[in-house]
């Protein structure tokens, strides 16, 4: 096994492209190291991206905020502008693991691990986040929901990696929120999760909404009927109830040790409604 810490994205990509056998990117390592320890993963080359300056920064751009692929969730929580502009994404990243895990865990790692229960992914998808994917020849900006194709499966080529994630600028009167259900208070995996993003007009009528649910299917589910239930309303009780029902209907969970089908379908609706209420409050609070 070879361990490399390149200084540039270009070198990192070259290492992946030139790897004999399996190459793996190491960001925080909170998934990868666990998998290696348990024998689930045995990469031949490990490419640590934490020494690459472009991947360690949070930068404001014209179109939004760009979060480097090696930025830990704790750094995000401490970034005032990020926490203010995308509270749903930041609170989702802030739910990952515990204080110790948050000192390492990244958005890109959470995404590329491909878990259906990844907490930050519904939140990122709800606000239309885009991953910047870099390969040896080209780079492309891809919507986050296009990255994961199934449990543990992603659409990146063997020689591609994510360099950063763009959180697009929010329209005025927008709010987002993410809630998950776990039996404990931390150190657990979502039994169900729901992210809601919405935008209001000056009269308080919802003009745009996204409702994304997680951990209730092989990948995140974009609940279009949930969004429809909100758009054109003042996000009142009835609209939220309709959105809740749409989420429960859209969920396709399995029965497993973490929860029954019936339970997950019910709870994901409850979470979506509650997240909707929080997003609404945030939309009203923001200018």
């Amino acid at each position: 096994m070879r361990f490399e810490s390149p200084q540039t994205t270009k070198d990192a990509v070259a290492l992946l492209a030139g790897a004999k056998g399996k190459g793996r990117v190491l960001a925080g390592g909170t998934d990868l190291l666990v998998q290696m320890k348990s024998g689930m993963a045995a990469p031949d080359v490990i490419v640590d991206i934490k020494r690459i300056p472009a991947m360690k920064s949070i930068k404001a751009e014209k179109d939004g905020m760009r979060v480097g692929a090696a930025v830990a969730s704790a750094e995000m929580a401490e970034h005032a502008a990020l926490a203010k502009g995308w509270p749903g994404v930041v609170e989702a990243a802030d739910l990952i693991g515990s204080t110790q895990i948050q000192g390492r865990a990244t958005l890109a790692g959470n995404l590329c691990n491909g878990s259906p229960a990844a907490d930050s992914v519904p939140a990122m998808a709800a606000i239309g986040a885009k991953a910047r994917v870099v390969g040896p020849k080209k780079r492309r900006d891809v919507l986050v929901e296009k990255i994961v194709t199934g449990p543990g499966k992603i659409s990146l080529a063997k020689d591609e990696l994510i360099e950063s994630i763009l959180l697009p600028k929010r329209p005025p009167r927008s709010g987002d929120a993410y809630l998950r259900f776990i039996p404990r208070t931390e150190m657990d995996i979502a039994v169900a999760g729901a992210a809601v993003s919405l935008t209001l007009d000056t009269k308080g009528v919802c003009t745009d909404a996204r409702v994304i649910i997680g951990a209730v299917g092989p990948r995140i589910i974009d609940v279009k009927d949930g969004a429809k239930a909100l758009i054109g309303t003042k996000v009142d009780k009835a609209a939220l109830k309709a959105m809740e029902a749409a989420c429960s209907a859209a969920a396709t969970p399995i029965d497993d040790k973490r929860g029954t089908k019936e339970f997950r379908k019910h709870v994901v609706g409850v979470l979506a409604r509650r997240a909707g209420q929080i997003a609404l409050k945030r939309a009203k609070g923001s200018k």
């Binding site: 024998g39 515990s98 259900f181 039996p183 404990r184 208070t185 931390e186 150190m187 657990d188 995996i189 039994v191 497993d256 040790k257 973490r258 929860g259 029954t260 019936e262 339970f263 019910h266 709870v267 409850v270």
Partner: protein, 753 residues
């Protein structure tokens, strides 16, 4: 010197009851403490175990040839390396540490390998070919009792039945306790409540996985470094399994990262010794967490029926319980203790409890803090709660009215001496917690609990050092702060400061046999022996002073760390300190040491009452514990910090057990959650501060009045939390864990009804 009783328990203490710094504190917070896995030896090999993926199968053949050929593999052991011992007590242990003709649970060991590196050992495991013939399995206790269930052990016939059974069964034995006429009692009742309950198997969840380092030479002399609650037990069992003379095997107990009963037996230790003997090299073995869950001893899962009747004015007329506990693949679930403790809190004329010990295709259970009692208390205290509320009585009042007291003939036989149950109930009644207001979706629960406590074989040695300080050797591993308590008791008795005594846990060659640290026995029994060893040393020191002064030994008394003339007639001599006596010991007869050996008796029973508030989210079934108060009789709290720690720890483990922890088996009989991610013990942020109230009703069996405190604290929580959650949810919950899906379902069914 005889043990002094009653009068002495009223004595005032100088150091007992204070809270000095723990002696293992700095080592533990700096990482210097050496646990099971922290020991290394030159030439050491790494041992790993191959485990069955099947819950029940015949092991037709084991082919180790490809593994043995791998470079770096130094030894492989299988069932062929262990002869079935003649000692009956070792037979099941032998079949548990290494499967024989059948594997009986997912995780059952079938082979072990020692190699120069872990990676080679891992590769070797992959090369061992085991041919299984898969058999039907059963993991549920009620299913295992049904006629037609897959039988684990050919020839097993249920013991304790009225007529001799003619067929093989998974029911090992029936137990029966009680007195009076239960039928008659129920006829006298105005109200009778009967309910069925289930609890899932839970694991002790100690933070340190089992680990050991074994080294045994061709001369048959062996050393074992091991994380255990009882190194003498490990020595005896391993010597028996390996055919060694007991004295040839020296076992040293490492620091221990929790045990809670789970480290009172052996798993990898005999394998490490057998591998070491075969390879003629030291062998280290460390279990992974997955192995700890699959192959050590969780507690029983249970199924129980409880029926209690009472008159309108709140007197219990009869109580009956039938308990069914599966204890894994071998006999010995703690159902007998469940049946004995079930009604121990009550003064009953008519009571009967029946217990069935059942085997299933799960790992053999091991002790878990007050084995059997928490589950029985869950069932009984739930019915008590319901009875009280149906009668329109306050739960505490109802319990006080029926509580056992001094002179009560207990449901399991003996008559109680002075006990503290009513005191805990009265104090609970007047506690601020009991009067605090509850909000929406919140509920309060109360329950009491009982545990016997144990005493047992104990041997300690107390050595006076050259400078007058004390080295105290005990043979009971310190899992709950016993070194601090021993030092305190020795210091109190000798009249020297706490930090002049250093207590260590000595190896098995240094002291006579000591029972395991279990049964909440150590502060009681090793403490008693420490006090007596100190008194023995005091007698000797007085004798030396007498020699120096030229007066009879009985003319010298001991006071505050000094030998003094007993009175004016003895003569006028300057008192001699321990340091002075020690400095000239070589001139007065040689080294000075105090000893004491005993198979102790008189461990006082103990009781507790718990109050807990919880909140239920009616939309998700999620339970939050809001407030928790433990009131328990300690007899005498030697080091109150540790006593509080035991109270809090019991409550916390109870919270996990009640709300989220469970062994989940799939249809395939495999454990699905062998890790802390999906086996959910509470994390710190799940818990409120656990408030404690230490009550001291002295135990006449101990010189200072000590009762064991380590186990009673886990008896009431399951029931107290179930009562609290049931009140908060508005529906009675009868199955543990009360995980969110279960609570939500119960609320839903209740609302629809």
């Amino acid at each position: 010197m005889s043990l002094q009783t009653e009068t002495e328990t009223k004595r005032s203490f100088n150091q007992i009851g204070t809270r000095p710094v723990r002696p293992d504190g700095i080592d533990k917070v700096t990482g210097r403490a050496r646990f099971g896995a922290d020991m290394e030896m030159p030439g050491m090999l790494h041992g790993l175990v191959l485990r069955s993926p099947h819950p029940h199968a015949k092991v037709k053949s084991i082919d180790i040839s490809r593994a043995a050929k791998l470079a770096g593999v130094k030894a492989i052991v299988t069932r062929d390396d262990f002869k079935m011992p003649k000692d009956k007590d070792l037979v099941d242990i032998c079949a548990n540490i290494m499967a024989r003709d059948k594997v009986l649970y997912d995780g059952h060991a079938v082979a072990a390998v020692a190699a120069t590196t872990k990676a080679i050992a891992r590769e070797a495991l992959k090369r061992i070919k085991v041919e299984y013939e898969i058999l039907p399995h059963v993991t549920d206790v009620d299913e295992a009792m049904k006629p037609g269930a897959p039988i684990l052990h050919k020839g097993m016939r249920t013991g304790g039945m009225d007529t001799k059974p003619r067929k093989d069964s998974n029911v090992v034995k029936r137990y029966k306790f009680g007195h009076g006429d239960v039928e008659k009692g129920f006829k006298q009742a105005d109200i009778v409540i009967e309910r069925s309950f289930k609890t899932a198997a839970t694991h002790q969840g100690y933070i340190e996985p089992h680990a050991c380092l074994a080294s045994i030479g061709p001369d048959g002399q062996g050393d074992l470094w091991v994380c255990t609650q009882g190194h003498y037990m490990v020595r005896n069992v391993c010597a028996g399994l390996l055919g060694l003379d007991v004295s040839q095997l020296r076992v040293t107990a490492s620091e221990i990262g929790g045990g809670f009963g789970g480290k009172t037996t052996v798993f990898i230790e005999p394998l490490a010794l057998a591998l070491s003997r075969k390879a003629n090299r030291p062998v280290k073995m460390v279990m992974s967490r997955d192995e700890v869950f699959r192959a050590t001893g969780p507690t029983s899962s249970t199924s129980m029926d409880v029926k209690i009747g009472a008159t309108k004015d709140g007197r219990i007329t009869a109580a009956h319980a039938e308990l069914r506990f599966q204890g894994g693949a071998f006999a010995g679930s703690p159902v007998s203790m469940g049946a004995m403790t079930a009604f121990a809190c009550y003064d009953l004329k008519n009571v009967q409890s029946i217990g069935y010990d059942v085997v299933t295709n799960r790992p053999k259970q091991a002790a878990y803090r007050a084995p059997g009692a928490p589950m029985a208390a869950f069932a009984v205290e739930s019915v008590i709660d319901e009875l009280a509320s149906k009668l329109g009585m306050d739960g505490l009042e109802f319990r006080i009215l029926n509580a056992a007291g001094e002179g009560t003939k207990s449901s399991y036989g003996p008559t109680f001496g002075p006990i503290g149950l009513k005191t805990t109930l009265e104090k609970a009644k007047s506690h601020a917690h009991n009067k605090a207001k509850l909000g929406k979706n919140q509920g309060r629960g109360i329950a009491c609990g009982f545990w016997f406590n144990f005493a047992g074989n104990t041997c300690v040695s107390l050595n006076l050092q050259l400078d007058g300080t004390i080295a105290l050797s005990v043979g009971t591993p310190d899992i709950g702060g016993s070194r601090a308590s021993m030092s305190l008791m020795a210091a109190e008795e000798l009249g020297v400061p706490y930090d002049k005594v250093r207590t260590i846990v000595a190896d098995t060659a240094s002291l006579g046999y000591n029972d395991v640290t279990d049964g909440s026995r150590t502060t009681f029994a090793a403490g008693l022996a420490t006090i007596e060893a100190a008194r023995d040393a005091i007698g000797k020191m007085c004798g030396r002073a007498a020699k120096v002064w030229g007066i009879p030994a009985d003319a010298v008394k001991w006071e505050n760390g000094y030998a003094k003339p007993a009175g004016p007639n003895a003569g006028a001599f300057k008192p001699m300190s321990m340091a002075e006596i020690a400095a000239i010991a070589h001139k007065t007869g040689g080294p000075i040491a105090g000893h004491y050996e005993i198979n102790a008796d008189g461990a006082g029973v103990s009781f507790a009452t718990h109050i807990v508030d919880s909140e239920v989210d009616p939309e998700t079934g999620r339970v939050t514990i809001l407030r928790y108060t433990v009131l328990q009789d300690a007899g005498k709290a030697i080091h109150p910090d540790y006593v509080e720690g035991q109270y809090q720890g019991g409550a916390v483990q109870g919270i996990g057990w009640a709300i989220n922890e469970e062994y989940i088996y799939g249809e395939d009989g495999r454990l699905q959650n062998a890790g802390f991610l999906d086996y959910r013990i509470p994390v710190a942020s799940d818990l409120p501060m656990i408030d404690t109230v230490i009550l001291e009703i002295p135990n006449p069996g101990h010189p200072y009045g000590v009762r064991g405190v380590g186990e009673t604290s886990i008896v009431p929580p399951l029931a107290a939390i179930a009562n609290s959650v049931s009140n908060a949810a508005g529906v009675r919950l009868t199955e543990l864990p009360m995980s969110p899906p279960k609570v939500l379902k119960a609320i839903g069914e209740h609302n629809r009804a």
